[in-house]
């Protein structure tokens, strides 16, 4: 008969202390407790003992077996929890299991930003149909049939009296028809013109704004748009108002901002002028109010419209407007 069971136990514990990884403990466990393990062997050899000693020795050996098994398992558990805590056992340079969000289309994102700014200024968002009557798209906006101003917009026709809206401005008469002043709306949406090149796509996006109340002035228009530009770009961006012509506003203005690329010193984006045309605006033409039935002696108002693509191109330094509708995922994932 070789070592007694307590010696075996002490040796096993000593060995356990000297190993520090899970695999070695498992090997140790097999070496002592496996089918051909030391303890198993010991138990088998008990038959060589005198009959009366066998039960006590067997019991003791079994206790040791259970005790060691517990020790091995606990050691493994300790090591495993330790490896999670200490980071010793993972390769942090491996990529994690991905949680990938999609990307918002840049046009949606910019539209949202524009609407958010105006919503904060007390405007509410309205929307209108994209296929529109000649009446709302033109006539109600003081653009009669056979007026040269119609040449300013290349129109897609559905029938003689139905068009794809060429601007978001039809939302103006549509809104005013339904409510009395005060009116404070912002109307984003798709518009269509039959024009296609690097700077034009046959479909694009505009945001229209309309503010009608007592004593609203051109100065107020300048105020609201200045506030908008400062929030959209930055508070250093200066604005320039130029006289222009829209049949549904009088006075009418084009609004330029200081080139956001060159800060006014002149570059390719601003055609060396230092200014970027960004908005059309003006005081609502009395003919538009008359069509609706607003009292022009009481109410005045301003309206403005801007191209979303134009602003997105400036914000994200995009040079070709067609990219917006190609939907190359490698482009869209950048936003």
């Amino acid at each position: 008969m070789g070592k007694n069971i307590n010696e075996i136990k002490n040796e096993a514990l000593k060995e356990l202390e000297s190993v520090a990884d899970v695999n070695s403990i498992k090997e140790l466990s097999i070496r002592y407790l496996g089918r051909k393990g030391i303890i198993t062997q010991f138990l088998r050899n008990l038959s060589n003992l005198p009959k009366d000693e066998r039960p006590a020795a067997g019991k003791e050996a079994n206790h040791v077996k259970i005790f060691l098994d517990e020790q091995f398992k606990n050691a493994i558990k300790r090591l495993e929890s330790k490896s999670i805590d200490s980071g010793l056992k993972i390769d942090v340079s491996l990529p994690g299991r991905p949680s990938v969000q999609g990307s918002m289309h840049p046009i949606s994102e910019i539209t949202r930003q524009i609407c958010d700014i105006f919503t904060r200024l007390g405007f509410s968002v309205v929307e209108g149909p994209e296929v529109e009557t000649d009446f709302y798209n033109f006539e109600a906006l003081n653009i009669p049939k056979n007026h040269p101003a119609r040449d300013m917009q290349d129109t897609f026709y559905i029938s003689e009296n139905i068009v794809l809206r060429t601007h978001t401005s039809p939302t103006q008469p549509r809104t005013m028809e339904k409510q009395d002043p005060p009116v404070r709306i912002i109307a984003p949406g798709k518009v269509y013109r039959c024009d296609s090149d690097v700077t034009h796509t046959p479909m694009f996006n505009q945001v229209e704004g309309l503010f009608v109340d007592k004593d609203v002035s051109f100065g107020d228009l300048k105020g609201i748009l200045t506030m908008f530009i400062h929030q959209m770009f930055d508070s250093e961006t200066s604005l320039r108002f130029r006289p222009s012509f829209f049949p549904f506003t009088e006075p009418s203005a084009e609004v330029d901002i200081r080139c956001v690329m060159c800060k006014g010193s002149g570059c390719r984006v601003c055609s060396q002028t230092g200014w970027l045309e960004i908005l059309g605006a003006g005081m609502v033409h009395p003919a538009v109010f008359e069509n609706i039935g607003y009292d022009t002696s009481v109410y005045t108002g301003f309206a403005f419209g801007m191209g979303v693509e134009r602003i997105a191109m400036l914000k994200y330094e995009i040079d070709d407007t067609r990219k917006f509708f190609e939907n190359d995922i490698r482009f869209l994932r950048q936003f």
């Binding site: 990529p95 969000q101 999609g102 990307s103 918002m104 289309h105 949606s108 007390g122 405007f123 509410s124 968002v125 929307e127 149909p129 994209e130 296929v131 529109e132 009557t133 056979n146 007026h147 040269p148 101003a149 897609f156 026709y157 009296n161 139905i162 794809l164 404070r184 984003p188 269509y192 039959c194 296609s196 479909m203 503010f211 007592k214 004593d215 002035s217 051109f218 100065g219 107020d220 300048k222 105020g223 506030m227 320039r240 108002f241 130029r242 006289p243 222009s244 012509f245 009088e250 006075p251 033409h285 005045t300 509708f325 190609e326 939907n327 190359d328 995922i329 490698r330 869209l332 994932r333």
Partner: protein, 806 residues
């Protein structure tokens, strides 16, 4: 509108630098598009000093000149008679390009090197002398730039005019604005008519049959003219703004049009039948050949200028070939008229004929400028064409031009502009651009706009002039008083953005496709012949074949996007689009516009990686997206039912589900049919959904009422039953629901198995029921009994067996 600065300076004193002038125009509403130096091409022409001449060895009429061009001496072959030693001449050096299109290079002329060209006036586009080379006079030195030597320069300013400013479609019109910058006045050209003879009434008559379309028609006669080239100054003026000189008579009518804005037309008097003019509408189908040698088909809405027999011009649009001025012309009838702008525009549109004349007439010419212009042209024709002016004007008019009076109130002006102008300032500004102002009282004036400002009709138009002239940028920035409450944000945009965020969270990227698609898209998607989505809105004037109709589904767009990205090697794609579809009602009403949301998932769910193998997406992935979306939106009562065979379109048989919410069909989800895929040039599997967003938004609950979280623990019981393969898994839930057992909190299927040892045609389904009471902790025994009952019930209802029974 192109404006030559030197021409403009004939009428207005300009004190500003060119750049400042261009800025001033822009800020006055005349947006300057481009400023170019007209003689830039002369930069490669320098002053040369001829230091030696020898005969050309191989050509009798050519000479070989040694020319000092400042930094070197070059050999130039010259054929002019007047070339001689020790003169200064303009030398076009290699690289120079001349107005006639010639580009100078290093040449070998009859065996002799020639490094440049000695030029004549004509060759340089600066004069009419073509008899020989130009000999330069004055204090000169070799190598000087020619433009400095002859002091020639002109700036061309291109103005992008808005359609309201027809008064600026002339050099004088633009000069008027320039003059106002320094508060000076335009100098109108003085018109002194030559002595006239006889009387026009003896030779011709004008009859206007449609005075509404031609409110004014004036005519003059000039006899004994000689048609020939115009003098250089006149040709030069026209060329400076891009017009081609033709002959003196035509050039004069063009010159006066550009000077005054009034289009004129000259007829060959002797080619007018009965030597008279009749203004009337054409007959339907009448044919007429215009000056550009094209035969036009006319309608009875088109106003024609006729002689005693036939049309000779389309009024205000273009003259006819049959009465054109040519070398043989000796007598001219000059026309200056005011045509109805709408009529001109209609005719011009119908014929697709845009001319300088239609451009002006349709925007409105000065109704009071008719006579001035015809006299100005008569004066020039008599001067330059050597003619004899016949006494008198035929001036056929509907009635005198009404003087337009607009009252203007100072307070109203300041209220609209947000300014603080007093009456004196407003008066001064308006007077600076020739508006007549009569004071009425302390706060109001009567304003008479000049006749050429046809765009000024209302007080607001005057207010714009005041704002424009004082400078928009000088108007103070103010902020409006917001009256009333601001409204609650409208639901649609808010919820739409929420759905976008949900889709982004699920890893889908937003795309935006054109609203117009290919006409055959309905065929491409296998829509049934009577599908309402076949009622497409058609565009009358589409740009391209694949953009001819408005979409009735977002699916062609997302499949197109998939195609584009796969061609760019992006094979794994999760995209969605939110946008409108358009269903046609009938010809004259607006189509129904429905907002839809569509998603597409193709390729792998996740790539092969160190932690997992690649997994291709499948039906359950995309269905899970919808379930996740509905769940987030708190939309309940959703059912997915197998799309009936007969209503299948772009989805694959057996792999398609109709989506119902509260028994309303709101969309479809499924795998794209093979055939449809290949129509879109696609091979790999794709899973799509398309839902009616408008319906979906309506189903989102407006309010959420919270419920208490459970106080008592749940008890779980699992079962497995074996049922017919054709029974949908959902029937288990449906049947248990029917039992209305309060303690059943939820049912979850966790395993489905087909194959050994399950007999063919059957499948085993394992599910877990969660039991919970809201008032007590459930007894194990009680739940076990309940569960056994439910399972037994299920087995009976679904004709199922339990695993042990087999």
């Amino acid at each position: 509108m192109k404006v030559s600065l030197s021409w403009l300076k004939e009428y207005a004193a300009v004190e500003m630098e060119t750049k400042a002038l261009a800025d001033a125009f822009t800020m006055a509403g005349l947006e300057v598009d481009a400023v170019t130096e007209r003689y830039e091409y002369l930069d490669n022409i320098v002053v040369g000093h001829i230091t030696g001449i020898s005969p050309h060895p191989n050509a009798d009429r050519l000479q070989l000149c040694e020319v000092d061009v400042g930094n070197r001496t070059v050999s130039v072959v010259c054929g002019a008679q007047n070339v001689k030693e020790d003169i200064f001449v303009p030398v076009a050096l290699p690289g120079a390009s001349l107005p006639n299109g010639v580009v100078i290079g290093k040449n070998i002329i009859r065996g002799q090197h020639s490094e440049g060209m000695i030029c004549s006036d004509v060759e340089m586009g600066i004069g009419s002398d073509s008899s020989g080379i130009k000999i330069l006079e004055g204090v000169l030195s070799a190598g000087m730039k020619l433009s400095e030597a002859i002091n020639i320069s002109d700036t061309i300013i291109e103005i992008d005019l808005t359609p309201n400013r027809s008064d600026c479609l002339s050099i004088i019109g633009v000069a008027r604005e320039a003059a106002a910058f320094n508060l000076s006045k335009v100098k109108y050209p003085e018109i002194t008519l030559p002595d006239s003879q006889d009387n026009i009434q003896k030779f011709t008559s004008v009859k206007v049959e449609n005075p509404e379309l031609c409110p004014r028609y004036a005519a003059r006669l000039i006899f004994d003219i000689k048609v020939g080239p115009s003098p250089f100054w006149l040709q030069d003026r026209l060329m400076s703004i891009g017009m081609r000189p033709i002959n003196n008579i035509v050039d004069i009518t063009n010159f006066v049009m550009m000077e005054t804005g009034q289009p004129l037309h000259a007829f060959d008097y002797d080619r007018l039948a009965e030597n008279r003019i009749v203004v009337r509408c054409a007959k339907n189908g009448e044919k007429f050949t215009t000056l550009d040698q094209k035969e036009r088909s006319l309608t009875n809405e088109m106003l024609m200028i006729c002689d005693g027999e036939k049309p000779v011009a389309i009024g205000g649009v273009m003259g006819g070939l049959n009465s054109e001025i040519d070398e043989s012309t000796t007598r001219v009838l000059l026309e200056s008229a005011y045509f109805n702008p709408i009529s001109i525009r209609k005719t011009s549109k119908a014929l697709g004929l845009n001319t300088d004349a239609t451009h002006r007439f349709e925007r409105g010419v000065d109704p009071d400028g008719t006579i001035r212009a015809i006299n100005r042209a008569s004066q020039l024709i008599a001067e330059l064409g050597g003619g004899l002016l016949i006494d008198g004007i035929i001036d056929h008019r509907k009635g005198p031009v009404k003087k337009c009076l607009i009252p203007l109130n100072v307070k109203d002006t300041n209220r609209l502009l947000g300014t603080n102008f007093d009456l004196k300032i407003i008066k001064g500004l308006l007077q600076s651009i020739e508006f007549k102002v009569e004071p009425k009282d302390e706060y109001s004036i009567d304003v008479y706009p000049p006749s050429f400002r046809v765009d000024i009709l209302r007080p607001e138009d005057l207010m714009e002039e005041v704002a424009r002239l004082s400078g928009y940028n000088n108007i103070p920035v103010t902020f409006p008083q917001a009256s009333g409450e601001s409204k609650k944000p409208s639901k649609t945009p808010v919820e739409r953005n929420r759905i976008k965020s949900i889709m982004l969270g699920f890893g889908f990227t937003e795309v935006i496709n054109y609203s117009f698609i290919h006409k055959l898209s309905c065929d491409h998607l296998n829509f049934h012949p009577d599908d309402p989505k076949r009622n497409m809105v058609e565009i009358l004037n589409p740009l391209t074949e694949d953009q001819t109709v408005m979409r009735t589904s977002l699916v062609p767009g997302v499949l197109g996007t998939m195609n584009l990205n796969i061609s760019q090697q992006t094979r794994n794609l999760k995209i969605f689009e939110i946008g409108k579809i358009f269903l046609n009602n009938d010809e004259d009403s607006l189509p129904e516009e429905i907002e839809m949301v569509s998603g597409l998932w193709t390729g792998s769910c996740h790539d092969a990686s160190w932690h997992s193998t690649e997994k291709q997406c499948d039906f359950y992935d995309i269905k899970g997206v919808l379930e996740g979306m509905f769940n987030t939106l708190k939309i309940e009562n959703i059912t997915f039912t197998k799309t009936p065979e007969k209503s299948l379109t772009f989805t694959k048989t057996g792999y398609s589900a109709d989506v119902y919410i509260e028994n309303e069909l709101i969309g479809i989800v499924g795998e794209v049919d093979q055939q449809v895929l290949s129509t879109f040039g696609l091979k790999q599997k794709a899973f799509v959904f398309e839902l009616n967003l408008d319906s979906l938004l309506g189903l989102i609950p407006d309010t959420i009422s919270s419920k208490p979280v459970p106080k008592y623990p749940a008890v779980f019981r699992d079962s497995t039953i074996i049922i017919d393969n054709n029974i949908e898994a959902t029937s288990i839930k449906n049947h248990i629901d029917l039992l209305k057992e309060d303690l059943v909190e939820s049912i979850r299927i966790f395993d489905i198995y087909e194959g050994e040892p399950i007999s063919k045609g059957n499948k085993s389904i394992s599910f877990r029921i969660t039991y919970r009471s809201s008032v007590e902790t459930l007894e194990d025994d009680y739940v076990s009994k309940l569960h056994k009952n439910i399972t037994y019930n299920l087995v009976k209802k679904l004709d199922a067996t339990l695993p042990g029974d087999q």
